[in-house]
Amino acid sequence: MENRHDVQRLPFVLLIASLLIALSNPPALAHKVTIFAWVEGNTVYTESKFMGGNKVRNAQILVFDGEGAQLLAGTTDERGEFSFKVPKLADLTVVLNVGMGHRAEWTITESEIREAAGTSEGKPALKPWQQQAAGLNREEIKELIEDSLDRKLRPIMRMMAESRSRGPSVTEIVGGIGYIFGLMGLALYFRNRIKEKQKDNRDD
């Protein structure tokens, strides 16, 4: 009996060792990739990263519309970025293809494009008569605010993109291991019940 317990305990060495290494070495890059795309004016900017934050260089980017027709293709640059002019007013799906089965996508909705285009495009230069006493009209103030908001929010967009590419947290790792042991408990429980039933049958 004792022997059997030892056998079961042994692989724990392996688990604990790998767990320690995993936790002491903050998740760098696994092979998970993420892409993040956003619109500014009439340009779509994309940022591609491996999990952990390393840039995806020289990877293929494909842009599809809502119906799945390919609109354009490109390659990420040294900083993992790629930008293009909005090719069509439709839902755009930006697909990052790194090869070896690694792929990520991001969808920009038509309304997002519309909104972005509305704020910084076709903005007429202020005409002298507009600068009169009343100052700016409502529409123009709205445009100016949205414009500067776009600029101010850009770093936050980047932060969001970065947080998306962060690796798994300790909670998730420990949670996953807990899950596996929970399943083990379940499996043991059911096996035990079967065993006991057989035993009961034999006794009867």
């Binding site: 022997n3 059997r4 030892d6 056998v7 079961q8 042994l10 692989p11 724990f12 060495v13 392996l14 688990l15 790998s18 767990l19 290494i21 995993a22 070495n25 998740p27 760098a28 890059l29 696994a30 092979h31 998970k32 990739v33 952990g52 090869g99 070896m100 089965g101 690694h102 792929r103 990520a104 996508e105 690796g167 798994p168 998730e172 790792i173 949670g175 996953g176 291991i177 899950y179 596996i180 042991f181 399943l183 083990m184 499996a187 043991l188 096996r191 035990n192 065993k195």
Partner: protein
């Protein structure tokens, strides 16, 4: 080596799921009472192993340890990997739920293969033979997984040889590291728990 969601075509996904289901069924059938905790522990080890990164040049790669898993669990590594990969897909967004079957086969089939190829050899009395086969077991499992990834990508746009070359070159360092890790693990386990190897090959544990 996790294949992402949306890369593979439907027939490959279905074939992978069917193969995985078969493997898991065989594994569950062979799973007796005493093996359950061992399966759980190795499943957890596999679950966290992919978080251990090995920097290689500009890129870096993660451990897989499907060789050790296969060697110690045999067919039981199918259910062990299915659970670990499922949790990785849900919690870490590695791979995905639809590619779970394919990914399970990619990881577990080489493990089972290594179990049959090296399961007997690592028990050899002579240190050299068992050491070399443990090393080979660790690296061959990674190699075979790479081949399987390339195979499943054939049916998409990538050609087999270019994909296989790319994957194998990227995983060359992992193959060596896994070989060394397997070597030490097996040597350690053999010294402290030789029954572990007797147990999986029919002899009672």
């Amino acid at each position: 080596m996790h294949i992402s969601e949306g890369v593979l075509s439907a027939p490959v996904l279905v074939a992978g799921a069917a193969l995985a289901a078969g493997g898991v069924a065989v594994g569950l059938k062979k799973m007796d009472h005493e093996k359950i905790p061992q399966v759980a522990v190795l499943s957890s080890a596999f679950f966290v192993a992919s978080l251990i990164h090995v920097p290689v040049g500009p890129s870096n790669v993660h451990l897989i340890i499907n060789g050790i898993n296969g060697l110690l669990l045999g067919w039981l590594c199918f259910p062990a990997m299915l659970v670990a990969l499922g949790l990785q897909a849900i919690l870490f967004q590695f791979g995905g739920v639809t590619v779970l079957g394919v990914n399970t086969v990619i990881m577990a089939l080489p493990g089972v293969t290594c179990y049959y190829l090296f399961g007997g050899l690592v028990r050899h009395e002579r240190r050299l033979i068992s050491g070399v086969s443990a090393f080979l077991c660790g690296s061959l499992a990674v190699f075979l997984s790479g081949i399987l990834v390339a195979l499943s990508l054939v049916f998409t746009q990538e050609s087999f040889f270019s994909a296989a070359m790319l994957i194998l070159v990227a995983h060359l360092p992992v193959m060596i590291i896994e070989g060394i890790i397997t070597l030490f693990c097996i040597a350690f386990l053999k010294r402290v728990k030789p029954e572990l190897f007797g147990g999986i090959h029919g002899k009672p544990a």
